[in-house]
């Protein structure tokens, strides 16, 4: 049974990652991609926009990694003790 419980848990994690990916892809497009392709704003505003986009995309990856760590160590590897 352990494998199938773990499988369900991983599918839940991936569903969260999928939903957040949709949002992050939108934010990346309107910040980084927009600035690099279309923006006619000042250099300061363009750099700021790209940095915000990079921070959000990087933050999402960091959250994904830490969420997986939490999922593994606090849920999957601890489940029999709780």
């Amino acid at each position: 049974m352990g494998l199938w419980k773990n499988l369900g848990s991983v599918l839940c994690l991936l569903t969260i990652v999928w939903a957040t990916f949709l949002v992050v892809s939108y934010i990346t497009a309107v910040t980084i991609f927009y600035t690099l392709e279309y923006s006619q704003a000042t250099v300061f505003m363009s750099v700021l926009r790209v940095l915000i986009g990079l921070a959000i995309a990087g933050g999402w990856i960091a959250i994904w990694y830490n969420l997986t760590k939490f999922w593994l160590y606090r849920i999957l590897l601890k489940k029999e003790e709780t």
Partner: protein, 323 residues
């Protein structure tokens, strides 16, 4: 459909030959998850490559257009890098991604891409500057991600099949029959390989096989304009590779692991509980459980089926209407 059938038959018939070739030349790897630690030829990539490339070239000769030639060239470059690793030794892990960038060049130089991807909630974009850079980056990322999941008998093939199945559904719905045939060729080649690679494996796909399939996935995502659906379908592979890199603190050889992610107990897989062991998809599946190899591979395939379904849903909800 002749080219699809040809890809299947060529891979199916040549796999026994490449098994013999691998055994006679000593190109083998130890199957570490078996108690008797058998030596298994790792030349299966040759058969996958041969079947798929012959199918692609047949498509080209039957008037399928330049696309088949360009895609086969991209995949062959990735496979060649894998062959070097299988036949000689592991390439420096920092150099390998740079070499895999070469796989993107046929598509970039032939211009067989449309830099107008559809982004969910936003719609169609024009990324004439960014898109070529994304193509360059996509090959090393996807090839290494597919390679990272090739850890159990049949795992690479069974986790890659859902992507090709998903892409075929999308291409069918869009009426893009040329891309549909190309995806079907790769699917047929992988299907023909599975009887030899499933538990207990008679042959491994090797790095040549996994890098070839990775390049095939990246190529189909680009030329078929299914970038977002492909990223979603590949979330398990990408997650696996990304977490290994983070766990190791950079791009390093798997041999640098201080602790292995899995242990064997009574011939069953179980997850390591050590905090310095790398986080992998398989480790998550085997947490606090004792799992036989066959069931673990099925679970990995179910995960890939699930994300391929999410990719399909995303395409239908957000992409199709905007194209």
């Amino acid at each position: 459909m002749l080219e699809v059938l040809t890809a299947f038959i060529v891979t199916f018939l040549t796999t026994p030959l490449v098994i013999k070739l691998g055994s006679s030349l000593g190109i083998s790897g130890i199957d570490i998850h078996k108690p008797w630690k058998p030596l298994v030829p790792k030349t299966g990539g040759l058969a996958i490559t041969l079947g798929a490339v012959i199918g692609l070239l047949l498509n080209f000769s039957l008037g399928g257009g330049v696309l088949a030639g360009v895609v086969s060239l991209s995949c062959l470059i990735a496979a060649a890098i894998g062959f070097v690793e299988d036949f000689r030794e592991e390439i420096n892990p920092k150099l390998k991604p740079l070499l895999l960038v070469l796989s993107s060049l046929p598509i970039l130089l032939a211009g067989t891409f449309v830099p107008r991807p559809v982004i969910p909630f936003l719609g169609k974009t024009r990324l004439y500057r960014v898109y070529p850079i994304m193509i360059l980056l996509s090959y090393p990322i996807v090839c290494n991600a597919v390679n990272s999941i090739d850890v159990l008998n049949g795992s690479m093939a069974l986790t890659s099949l859902p992507f090709f199945a998903m892409s075929m559904v999308i291409f069918y719905l869009r009426g893009n029959y040329q891309a549909l045939i190309l995806s079907a060729i790769f699917l047929a080649s992988l299907l023909a390989f599975i009887p030899y690679n499933k538990y207990p494996a008679k042959v491994f796909s090797g790095n040549s096989g996994s890098l070839f399939v990775g390049a095939a996935i990246a190529s189909m995502a680009i030329v078929g304009r299914i970038e977002i659906a492909a990223i979603i379908a590949l979330l398990p592979q990408i997650m696996n590779e990304m977490h290994i890199i983070f766990s190791l603190g950079g791009i390093k050889s798997a041999k640098k692991f201080k602790s292995r992610p899995l242990k064997m107990e009574n011939n069953l897989l179980t997850a390591s509980e050590e905090s310095d062991a790398p986080i992998t998809l398989l480790r998550m599946l085997c947490a606090k459980a004792k799992v036989d190899e066959r069931s673990a591979v099925y679970a990995m395939a179910i995960i890939s089926l699930f994300t391929a379904f999410l990719g399909l849903i995303t395409d239908l909800l957000f992409i199709e209407g905007a194209l």
